[in-house]
Amino acid sequence: AQTVTQSQPEMSVQEAETVTLSCTYDTSESDYYLFWYKQPPSRQMILVIRQEAYKQQNATENRFSVNFQKAAKSFSLKISDSQLGDAAMYFCAYRSVNGNQFYFGTGTSLTVIP
């Protein structure tokens, strides 16, 4: 089974600053999908951004972007101009092209300081 590692249990950032959350994964597959999910306190988990492994271009969604390093098996999330509403638990996830299962990291709790 694939493993996904988030080595930062907690992170903090000043409002309006930029923060990067780390994620690494282990796989022998050449094609797969990677996702970042956000879980605000007591609220539903939602998709933030996704990346297809065959695409070299890093995905971007407004203030959220990824740094995808396929050879290093690294998939970090950058949040620019951090807002109070960005405070949440963030999970990195992996999915095979032909697989049904998602593999999640243990999460990073992000605090935004006013």
Partner: protein, 113 residues
């Protein structure tokens, strides 16, 4: 809009009870999943289903069973609840295609006394 609905946000049960957690999705997703979420452990897969009446064990199936009689509904059953099953339970669903993300319900916080 995508909707995954879990029957309860909070539930309190007693040790030894049989507990049912229900999940319904309205997107015609083939796949449905049950996770438990504990601090420091992230999401751990209990069971998933890729079709009606089909199920696959996840990482921690012991003490749980599931039922999928209809495509839109996936039930998690705690056969005889124990205190170590106190946790947050998340239901999710997805299309079968690999690039499709999971969609999650609001979660059920289950306490076993």
């Amino acid at each position: 809009d995508v909707k995954v609905t879990q029957s309860s946000r909070y539930l309190v049960k007693r040790t030894g009870e049989k507990v049912f957690l229900e999940c319904v999705q309205d997107m015609d997703h083939e796949n449905m999943f049950w996770y438990r979420q504990d601090p420091g452990l992230g999401l751990r897969l209990i069971y998933f289903s890729y079709d009606v009446k089909m199920k696959e064990k996840g990482d921690i199936p012991e003490g749980y069973s599931v039922s999928r009689e209809k495509k839109e509904r996936f039930s998690l059953i705690l056969e005889s609840a124990s205190t170590n099953q106190t946790s947050m339970y998340l239901c999710a669903s997805s299309y079968i295609q690999g690039h499709q993300p999971q969609h999650f319900g609001d979660g059920t916080r289950l306490s076993i006394l």
